[in-house]
Amino acid sequence: MVVALLPIAGSAADGRTTAEACWKEGIAAYEEGDYARAVESFERVVELGESSADLYYNLAGAYFKLGQQYTLGVSRPFAGGELGRAVLNYHRALRLNPALEDARYNLDIAVDHTNDTEAVPDSFIATVWLALRDMMTSNGWTIVSLVALALTLVLALLYLLAERMVLRKVGFFVALTMAIIFICATALALSGRRAVVEDERAVVVCNDTTPVHASPDSASKIIRRPSQGVTVTLLRDRGDWSEVLFLDGEKGWIRTSHVEKI
């Protein structure tokens, strides 16, 4: 049994070493300004099964810089669809760590280069709730909720056991606060989990603009032409064509190869 497991463990360790080498190479290439090689290296790290917010953040940055490194008069910025890839990877980084402020800032800049509009929460409460949720990962909120639960119960014991009035009072109110924190943190953790597990968003990745048709048929009417980097919600996938929902509520069919799920 142990003998059978060893080779697997060995290859996994090798994969990690290779990934670390590629990661370093990617950073070195980025520092030299060789963004094409940086993209290649970071993509290789992703292929090796690594996934972390920083990795996707760096990959997105390399794509963005590569797209900006066009030759004036010879090619356009983001001619190879780099903007779409950058937006996609910033979204992926934020999904793994919603508290990665750098990624949020850069995503904002990248979205500025597209013809997309930003999603705005409906109400003040929703804004506050989303801001709270994105302060930490779902796991972060889970840990907070468990610690709050433990503290609630410990302070409840203090309230029950303490002989001095002061301690009893402190125990009671702090336990109550902790219970409220526990409920909120659990809800935030669940909300964060839902945002990841039920995430049906996708980013348009194509060289320039891609037509969105009224029906899954290239002869049908073109209802809009989103540029690369526009974020949509996937509704249906029917092989070559996917039905997508835009932020403004418009629905249409787009070539499946022109969108990539976050």
């Binding site: 980025y30 760096n58 940055g61 014991l157 669940l190």
Partner: protein, 603 residues
Amino acid sequence: MKVLFRFMLVLVALTSSWVAWGQVSFTVDAPALTALGQPFRVEFTVDAEPERNSFKAPEFEGFEVLAGPSVSTGHSIQFINGRQSSTYNCTYTFVLLPSESGTFTIGSASIKVDGKSYRTKSMPIEVIAENGGGSGAQQPTEQSPENRINKEDIVLKLLVSDKEVYKGESIRAWLMLYTRVNIDNIESLDMPSFDGFWSQELTFDNTPSREQLNGRVYEAYKIKELLLSPQQSGRITIPEATMSVLAQVVVEDKRHFDPIFGGRQIYHVARELRTPPIVIDVKDFPAGAPASFNGAVGSFTLQSRMPSSELESNSADQIEITISGSGNLKFITAPRLVLPDSFEKYDTKVVDNVKLAASGTSGSITYTYPFVARSAGTFRIEPVMFSYFDPATGKYHTLSTEPMTITVTDDGTAAAAPMAGGYAGYGGTMRQLDRDIRYIHTDKLPRRAAAMMVLTPIYWLVVVAIVALFVVAYVLLRKRIRDNRNVVARRMKRADKVAVQRLRMARRSMEEGKRHTFYEEMLRAMWGYISDKFNIPVSNLTKETIREVLYRRGVSAEVAEQFCEIISRSEEAQYAPSAEGDMGEVYAFAAEVISKIEDVVKR
């Protein structure tokens, strides 16, 4: 009658003097190219009235004069808005037939106008012997009109000025129609798609000329002229151009000879013409392009108008750069201008003055870079570099402006001014300047992102474990909790009662006259009361804590002080053998203070 005659004299005098003032031109007009056996016309034209018999024709060596000179004159006088103008011309026409092939020169003819002699320039005429005989249209054979036009009689050609160019260099392409028959009408023309080129139509002189093609003489018409600029390197094929024409065929018909109109029948024959495809070899730029090269091809010069070297802060100025020359001016992008950070840059204004000509686009483009200097200091303005590729020499050239320093003096409001990187309003839109993505994270490769914990079995296990620990703790400590709760409640309730009991015992001692015991009981009653009432162990009690506790429970400082005074007096009296104090007084006072405290605390 006399008057009329005089008027005419004046008119004639005016006319002749008018002519004498103007420049007299005396020209010859003949085709530069002709075929052996084809008669042609030579015309000598003078635009003034020549002296009689002053025209002397040259020798027509190598030609046979079939007719001429025939003279035709024309005279017109115009009055426009009271101004008189008159034109006069006189043409001497010869019809010549070339007698042998070769190049012959028609010598100069001379003429006299008002006593002055004028000569035409001599003119060379090339005579060629055509192979394959004359055109079908001129051979009166019994063929159908369709067959009277040979394929070679109408030729369409697309010509290019160069077949090997650099990317961005422009070449001229023109479509020529060569014909030996009359063309009635051009029915349609499909120009090829110039994929891979940026094409612009040129205006051109469309007077027909005579040209030699494959040893034959044709009337040549220019149909279209374009300027092409390849946008990609490699071999680019220009596909065929097609044109359909209606040619006119005149047939002398002897059978239906009409005595008045003759027997000429005119037929229209439709013909499809095609040009062969042309391959242009587009070379890419050679290696070693300077950093400031962005695709400019041609030959350019650079002029700049720099701002004044002293500015007040928050004042605007501009740098003007003009690129002039010939080449792909339309494709030039503004040279990059690097300004210090505290300079607020605005959108570059571009004014172009580009003309299209057969030799390529030429003219100038002026870029204006407006800016506002925000903060005071001395700043260096880096030179603006512009590089272009000269296809004639195959080399890159870089032009640059002179570097300069600008001294910005403080206008006193520098602190309030927004710095670069803030928002700059321009053209009604708000844009944020100088925003770029943040740098990548260069730490070690982070660990793989953990899976979601919430709602997993481990999560539930931890929740259950925490709750279970609490339950166990609760069960274990339940008895103590209950006891604790009871002791506390009882003590609080009984505090008053206990105090009353103790006071009663003290009273008994007082009645028995036991001083020492009385004070002892008094002290125990006082301390015990506070201890029970406020759930504080007696060992922790001092007079200070009593004051503090009473104060916190809202008992007035005066009452607290009285309480402490009783304790003090009792302590003193306990060990003083000859105490003066009245036991009854102390007892009554203590009962009163306790009842006061009870009043406050109960409420």
